[in-house]
Amino acid sequence: MRVDIKDLLFSRGSFTLRGSGTFDAGVHLVSGPVGSGKSTLALLLAELLRPGSGAVRRHGVSSALLLLQFPEHHITCPTVAQEAGSWGLAPEDVLARADLAGRADDDPFHLSRGELKRLTLACTVMRNPDLLMLDEPFSSLDCTAKRKACRMIEERDEGITIIFSHERAVLPRVDTLWEMEGGTLTACGSVPRAIPRWRHAPPYLRYALEEGARPENIRLQDAREAVCRTHG
């Protein structure tokens, strides 16, 4: 199972996105500054935008889903339970997974933004598509919910997961790092060897490297704890 992008080119106004590469099975993290093209790349990979030239080719991928950056853009039903049902999922399972027990009959727009994000994230991950694309899955979540989201992502034992995010404090176990800058996609390579090349690395990772930590000893999901232990 893999997704190839070949000489992808997409322009809108003065913005141009370029990229080539292969997304194999595993967890990919695409990081980069605001307006660098992360969401546009997500839409292209989800085939919701058509590239000017080049192509996105899926091999052995029978299902794909994109979690949109703004959770309110997903909502189509007047209650939380009906919204979960509209994804073809059992509402009670979704509510339990999203820590929203007791909110079944609430209007989704009466949830806080973080709660709404938990709902749409749970729905997307529980559909368990071969190709799962998550645009800023951690934004608006509190730290407890971020960790839970990481565990949900890590529990996917097969398929391609692509996370588009600028999150810096809490990250799941990532296999491959990519960067977007000024519309250009660059592959950094596999974790942990790619970490020193990762320009958008979280501050605590940079600090660990400056303090002499060896990248091969760094795993993203426990980097924080590991750094704390060396200084403990």
């Binding site: 500054p33 605001v34 933004r113 608006s140 600028h166 501050p203 605590y204 660990a208």
Partner: protein, 223 residues
């Protein structure tokens, strides 16, 4: 001075709170009432019971700059320039002054290159920056940001931090999920289940959160 007395609104319940700090971070789990508190402090919502006073006045009598958590819901105009110009225009400032203010605010926030862009073509983070420029354009007395940084990368979030520090507002109320950002505030309110569980300097509040994931990462790492 921000003074809250007998406030009850939705799940928020704050019997008595007075804060004299400039930069106030509001933190806490999702659904703990942070947005509701900010909405009441900004004057967007009238509380069911109790009073809020900013600088000795009700919020409706204070110039408040507001950056909401759903940028799509607060942006009214289709062109970035018109969005940022809306407050000075609604306040009947002369055209030339409005133009100067818009360009200055866009420059400070770092979005001069977006002034002619359509709001609908912006990324999520760029929308948050437009909302920030629109909130700052007419020198608010109180600036209120509701998770404005949740759509921003680290470098851009630092720029927002600088804009907030340099603003002339007497108070900045900033709700954030980045504890490293909250650690830079003068004062921290930690909310849970509608109550202010802890309040004080960052040192005081985070000392009580040391065993939780709300403790700032960089503090843990550098210790």
């Amino acid at each position: 001075m921000i003074r809250i007395t007998g406030l009850r609104h939705r799940l928020v319940d704050i019997p008595d709170l007075a804060v004299d700090a400039r930069h106030i971070a509001v933190i806490g789990p999702n659904g703990s009432g942070k947005t509701t508190l900010l909405a009441v402090c900004s004057g967007i919502e009238e509380p069911c019971a109790g009073t809020v006073r900013l600088l000795g006045r009700p919020p409706s009598a204070v110039k408040v700059g507001w950056v909401g958590e759903f940028p799509d819901r607060t942006l009214l105009f289709s062109r970035v320039y018109d969005e940022i110009a809306s407050t000075p225009r609604f306040r009947h400032h002369p055209c030339r002054e409005t133009d100067e203010r818009v360009k200055a605010a866009a420059g400070t926030v770092g979005i001069t290159h977006l002034l002619d862009a359509k709001v609908s073509a912006l990324s999520g983070g760029e929308k948050a920056l437009v909302a920030l420029a629109a909130a700052c354009v007419d020198d608010p007395e109180v600036l209120i940001l509701d998770e404005a940084d949740s759509h921003l990368d680290g470098v851009t979030a630092e720029r927002v931090g600088r804009v907030v520090r340099e603003s002339t507002a007497a108070h900045v109320l900033w709700c954030t999920q980045s504890m490293d950002t909250a650690a830079e505030a003068d004062y921290v309110l930690f909310m849970e289940d509608g109550l202010v569980r802890h309040h004080g300097t960052p040192e005081e509040v985070f000392a009580r959160l040391e065993e939780t994931c709300f403790y700032p990462t960089m503090w843990r790492v550098r210790r």
